[in-house]
Symmetry: C2
Subunit: 252 residues, 2 copies
């Protein structure tokens, strides 16, 4: 492999300064030179293919990761082999924060489609946060967001019907995709019915039936992975008597 090939690859990689995600990602609110200092510790590895792992449960915690493109799911494994999906992560979202406490990852993370990932070694990040107050604050905010997102999801899981759960899931996706510049009403699901069901605490058959049902109601147009939201209002209405602050469901 010729060295100039490597150089070319490096050039292709987008620096934080010119990354479209900088308004939702870690650099948010940083001065230009501070972004450069952050940029210097970010590792941009080759994209993951579908099914590849970022990390697995129990591995030593070394880095946090930010999705740049694609989708990543986090999950835990049951003793019987079945898996429990913890979350789906879109571009700009940080993964691995739950590993800080015990020094090892408590879940596994794998790509649902080809995904570019930024890796940030946590020891270096901590050195930076100690000298850049804005970055420290941004880290606190990020961790806090994770907590409040989880809180919303817990409320959803412990209170709602199957219909409300799927509605919340679709709206969350819609909101997050929209805030990343994608269509809010038309997207491809990168996860299976099984995975959605696991995430929402439902059987995959229930998820499938609900998609059909929403379609019959004129709320959605569904073709396997492809979803078009025809009536956002109805979807919101399904959640009207819900505890959860919608914007919080998995935003931004």
């Amino acid at each position: 492999m010729a060295p100039n090939k490597v150089i070319t690859l490096n050039k292709i990689q987008i620096a934080c300064q010119s990354c479209g995600l900088s308004n939702i990602c870690l650099p948010l609110g940083l001065e230009s030179d501070d972004i450069d200092r952050l940029d210097a510790i970010v590792q941009r590895n080759r994209p993951l293919r579908r099914g590849n792992h970022l990390f697995q449960t129990g591995e030593k915690f070394k880095s946090v990761f930010v999705v740049k493109t694609g989708t990543v799911k986090t999950y835990t494994q049951c003793p019987d082999g079945s898996e429990q999906v913890i979350g789906f992560h879109l571009p700009g979202e940080v993964i691995g924060l739950d590993g800080i406490e015990l020094g090892k990852y408590i879940c596994s993370a794998k790509a649902l489609e080809t995904s570019a990932i930024c890796e940030i070694p946590f020891d270096k990040l901590e050195e930076l946060t100690a000298t850049i107050p804005n970055l420290q604050h941004q880290m606190f905010r990020l961790l806090s967001r994770e907590i409040s997102n989880d809180t919303s999801l817990m409320a959803l899981l412990s209170k709602s019907t199957a219909e409300e759960r799927l509605a919340a899931f679709l709206l969350s996706l819609s909101i997050r995709l929209h805030s990343r510049g994608f269509s809010a009403t038309e997207f491809n699901l990168s996860m299976s019915r099984q995975e959605i069901g696991s995430y929402l605490g439902l059987a995959l058959e229930t998820v499938s039936r609900l998609f059909t049902h929403f379609q019959e109601e004129g709320i959605l147009k569904v073709n396997r992975k492809y979803v078009e939201i025809l009536d956002l209002e109805k979807l919101y209405a399904l959640l009207s008597h819900q505890t959860v602050c919608l914007e919080k469901l998995r935003a931004p």
Copy 2:
């Protein structure tokens, strides 16, 4: 009110250095002088009576709180007036971290019994974390713990039966009480069946029936709020095919 009365009150209040919770609370891992600096920003207000609020949903986020004695519940209010319990918080546990992101509390917190609380103004805490790397790390750990606790609870809520949920709840309480120097097998619940049900996503009748059922199985001895665990092994066995790392359920 005579000034010496105030002085006496101040003397009664326990400094972080001599607080029994220092091995699970924020000062964990700090040098002695750093603990003093932290101590200096901690506000020790008068104890809350049962039903009093620490903060309410939507209030401006100003401080995080640590339970010193007693129990606090966090909850959100549904549009229909019913409430959704988010968590129960024992001595040494930090509350309010979910307010950092948006600058306002996203849930309400009220005392379930007379409770002493330490209040830590967050702006001052951030100044300290910026200059005390160990404290910054401890804050990251604390926030991370909150996230991994929530992850475990989400897995519990989306996968398990009513029986498994209550077993997990009781074991979590047992473990946390034990690590605070209380009995692991004998305690008084400070929350109602209704509140347990809300937290676990179950109807209060289901909770009540399960207590009866566990008693018939010889697992518990229950008398209203008073619970004695007779067979810890059986309780653990109920969770054996559970995703959740038990120590993680709400530890330490």
